[in-house]
């Protein structure tokens, strides 16, 4: 019986836990509830992936009302993979959060933070599993609203303006998305994804479809922080509590990317994204400009969190390049980078959180001698940084490999060149950190070994180890990403 409900449980468990958290209102019990949700959903997401791989698509009619009248959850290899990423990052993030949040958020508001966090997770899971475009909008709002709250728990009061800015941008994005699906509904009379995919090809020549596509694409581009619609992201990541930044960096933009893929490749007619509207050129251009330009901006940041926030926008750029190639191999590269980027960026932000707890600062200046004061924390940032560059034996290399291969498949030599230039720019900001942490000697200061607490180091290093493991043995990630791309584009590479 349980296997029948898997897809619904992924949303229902956190939805049930969040109000419990708000009723008990103890800082410790709310963390325990959040952790229990993480454990249950991580196991659940593995079971879903297993079920999808062995017995195919999971379809779940909510309330017993069959689609297209009712809302259905529909999971194939693509969303099962995204669900896996979100659930595990959430689990590791919550495990990390206990001591990190203790240091940053006053006791009386910790329960509200965990409530918002669980709700955010529920929303992200809902976006991923839903097979109904309006239901996706509802969950998009659930996750967004709770994200604004999460950001506003930051220690620095500038987090409030960052949250407000994200709220305004996020609301515009959600409205654009809603207008888009409104047009689709007016035209086809259905909101069900599978049903839309059946009806839209016959209407592809109508302008309404193109306008709807434009609105939806713009809305999602804001949510996934695609250049030049990324303005909300740097401050939101920089001023949110460290544990929250680590979680958001691995999950929030990823869910939007997934919805984008689903709409562009599975719901709208086959060549709509590429040949009919040439939107793929815009996405490709935005992606590659972002990958180089925002990485260059990252070089000039003084604060580590801001630096890696800009780097996140750059990495979203690479994912967009994969989408813009509009081929099965390109989408597979994007899926792979979604997974790999979640691993590396979450680990980096966790290590930065460890740095903050020991030194009370996240500025680059505070890194002086950090290589010797806190070798494990610094090594985590270093390996994450190498992974961002794409050094062999890290997951970043695998991502770049898939992406460059996908570009070469279409004979885009120039694109492969630009991707490598992006890597060089990334190397510049990673080197800036390495230089200060390892090579700048200050003879006046005594070096005292002060590592981040174990409760922060362990989750960080779980992700770093995974990063190296999947960098060497890409069997699982590569094949799952390829399956996901096949499921979403409908073409076997």
């Amino acid at each position: 019986m349980l296997s029948f409900h898997l897809s619904a449980l992924q949303v229902v468990i956190p939805l049930l836990a969040a109000p419990l958290c708000a009723i008990f209102r103890g800082p410790r019990i709310s963390w325990l509830i959040a952790l229990a949700v993480g454990l249950a959903c991580a196991v659940n997401s593995l079971a879903i992936l297993n079920q999808v791989n062995t017995s195919g698509e999971i379809i779940y009619a909510l309330g017993g009302w069959a689609a297209p009248w009712g809302i259905e959850y529909r999971i194939d290899s693509a969303n099962a993979f995204i669900l896996l990423i979100i659930s595990f990052i959430y689990l590791v993030g919550i495990f990390y959060a206990r001591d990190s949040i203790k240091a940053e958020v006053p006791e009386h508001s910790r329960c509200w933070l965990y409530t918002a966090w669980i709700l955010c997770f529920s929303g992200l899971s809902g976006i991923t599993v839903s097979g109904d475009v309006f239901n996706v909008f509802v969950f998009l709002e659930v996750s967004s609203l709770s994200t604004y709250i999460l950001i506003s728990f930051g220690k620095d009061r500038r987090c409030l303006t960052a949250a407000l800015r994200y709220l305004i941008m996020g609301t515009i994005a959600a409205t654009f998305y809603l207008i888009g699906i409104g047009f689709l509904y007016a035209l086809t009379g259905t909101l069900n994804m599978a049903d839309l995919a059946e009806r839209l090809p016959g209407l592809a020549s109508q302008n309404t479809v193109a306008v709807a596509f434009g609105f939806v694409v713009l809305g999602l581009a804001i949510k996934m922080a695609l250049f030049p619609l990324h303005a909300w992201l740097p401050n939101a990541y920089a001023y949110a509590p460290n544990a929250v930044t680590a979680f958001l960096a691995g999950t929030a933009t990823k869910a939007a990317v997934y919805v984008f893929m689903r709409l562009a490749f599975a719901i709208f007619p086959d060549d709509f994204f590429s040949d009919l509207t040439s939107t793929h050129v815009i996405v490709l251009a935005a992606g590659i400009i972002s990958a180089i330009l925002t990485s260059a901006i990252a070089i000039f940041q003084d604060d580590l969190k801001r630096l890696f926030a800009w780097s996140s926008i750059g990495q979203i750029g690479y994912i967009a390049v994969g989408l813009g190639l509009a081929s099965s191999a390109g989408v597979a590269a994007s899926f792979l980078h979604l997974f790999n980027h979640a691993l590396m960026k979450t680990a980096i932000f966790m290590a930065i959180g460890g740095l903050f707890i020991t030194t009370g600062s996240t500025t680059i200046a505070a890194l002086e001698n950090a290589g010797r004061r806190m070798p494990w924390t610094m090594a985590a940032i270093l390996i994450g940084g190498f992974s961002l560059i794409g050094v062999p034996f890290t997951t970043g290399f695998i991502s770049k490999w898939y992406l460059v291969s996908a570009a070469l498949e279409q004979n885009h030599w120039w694109l492969a060149g630009l991707i490598l230039i992006g890597s060089l720019v990334t190397a510049a900001y990673v080197w800036k950190i390495v230089e200060i942490a390892y090579f700048r000697k200050n003879p006046d200061t005594q070096i005292v070994r002060q590592e981040a607490p174990l409760s922060l180091l362990i989750p960080t290093w779980v992700l770093v180890t995974a990063n190296i493991y999947f960098g060497i043995d890409a069997q699982f990630t590569g094949s799952t990403a390829t399956l996901a791309a096949t499921a979403i584009t409908g073409i076997t590479p």
Binding site: A8, V12, L16, P19, I23, L62, G63, G64
Partner: protein, 145 residues
């Protein structure tokens, strides 16, 4: 608002009817216009009226913020709980037909409970919003917290 005697008397006379009307909108939502959202807002408005006329301190004695937070969560819990009950009784999440022996009676029961959950949460959140703005203290720059 000590000198606004007329307002206070009128409010006192009106509030019970507003509450009653909210309950009517809530439970008649099956057959006529209405439902949890509308009823919740009307129910909350009664308390907000009380708070405006008699002052927030008196209002907070009637409904302390911590109570409102709890009821807001309970409403969500009732909603999800009904959904999970459907799962436990062998249907899908939020399938009301299995809640009773007769499918139609089950649907009636399900939507009634769900809407009640919505009503509780909406009313609580309305009151919580009012109280948090009423208690909001503007700190001048330099005054500190």
């Amino acid at each position: 608002m000590k000198h606004h005697l007329i307002l206070q008397v009128v409010a006192k006379a009106l509030i019970p009817f507003i509450l009653l009307f909210a309950l009517y909108v809530q439970f008649h939502g099956d057959y006529g216009p209405g439902g949890g959202f509308q009823a919740g807002v009307i129910f909350g408005a009664a308390f907000i009226l009380y708070g405006i006329v008699f002052g927030k301190d008196v209002a907070m004695k009637v409904v302390p913020p911590s109570l409102v937070y709890t009821t807001a969560s309970l409403g969500v819990l009732l909603y999800t709980g009904v959904g999970v009950a459907g799962m436990l009784l062998g249907g899908e999440f939020l399938n009301y037909s299995v809640l009773s022996k007769d499918a139609v009676a089950g649907q009636h029961l399900g939507i009634l409970l769900i809407e009640f959950g919505v009503g509780i949460t909406v009313a609580s959140v309305m009151i919580a919003l009012f109280l948090s703005y009423a208690n909001y203290r503007v700190t001048e720059p330099g005054e500190g917290e």
